[in-house]
Symmetry: C2
Subunit: 142 residues, 2 copies
DNA sequence: ATACAAACTTGTAATGATTACAACTTAATT
DNA sequence: AATTAAGTTGTAATCATTACAAGTTTGTAT
């Protein structure tokens, strides 16, 4: 179990500094992201919360995710076009997508170990790594 | 100037093995990608070729790019949602997008230098790296 | 507590990229 | 030259996302 008190404090602080209110709907979206670490799409979030909040609108989910992204509380994953995904993990890590089952796995990366050339004089703010292939589970089933 | 003869031979071979014909339109799309190394969108390709081939349809460009992607002759870049881009460079390299001017730069990467954890037992087929920040040109103008 | 203003939610409509489809055209093969 | 598979094109359909406007909630100042 994670330390919810510290987490909530962090959340409210980040939101306050961006003049964003933590409404009931937004709290539920954050809760969904925290409990379902599957890098969900808007559709998945919508389906997941629909039973609990039948009036919840997709527009609100989009609005919420955009607000949370601007506040730095969630990260956008653009692994493939046509399926924007959202990640509540905001520290540096990589993503692997299995082309067989579609699942997205996290992996740990030492970004500083990477040997690169051609970015002298560039100011780098974000570094994203997307791998793809076959996950162990799907390799077994072949 | 690149060795066009060898390149064309490589192209026709790859297409033949996939039962894909190298039509006039497809040749022009390839030529555009070769001469305009800007990781263009479909819209940019369409605009760029419209004067020369007024009858060219966007559907053909989509069809062509999908066929070339399946044959491995071009790579799809999904840096941000809502702007699929195409790259004629198919060797391993990274992409940097300047958030100020929007330009996408290539950079060289030694993929094997990367220290990662959590992918034991995974079969990795592709490794994409997307960086973003400010390019030197835009830093000057501040 | 009350009132006000700013922020939020929601449903519907608009947008924009991509794909589906069907009729017609082109190209490779016998 | 005939046949057949593949390609092209314009239009319509699809789907994710955003725009918008009306009503609702929340925080703050009085």
């Amino acid at each position: 179990m994670s330390d919810m008190r510290a987490k909530m404090e962090d959340i409210t602080n980040k939101l306050k500094s961006n003049n964003i209110r933590l409404s009931h709907q937004r709290l539920k979206v954050l809760e969904y992201l925290d409990h379902n670490r599957i890098h969900p799409t808007v559709e998945q979030i919508y389906e997941g919360l629909h039973d609990e909040i039948p009036t919840l609108s997709k527009t609100t989910i989009y609005n919420t995710l955009n607000a949370l992204t601007e506040s730095g509380l969630v990260k956008v994953l653009t692994i493939e076009d046509n399926e924007t995904r959202y990640d509540i993990r905001t520290d540096a890590h990589g993503h692997f997508k299995c082309t067989a089952c579609g699942e997205i796995y996290d992996f740990e990366v030492n970004m500083d170990s990477l040997e690169i050339q051609g970015l002298n004089g560039f100011r780098v703010y974000s570094r994203d790594m997307y791998f793809s292939g076959i996950c162990p589970k799907c390799m077994e089933q072949e």
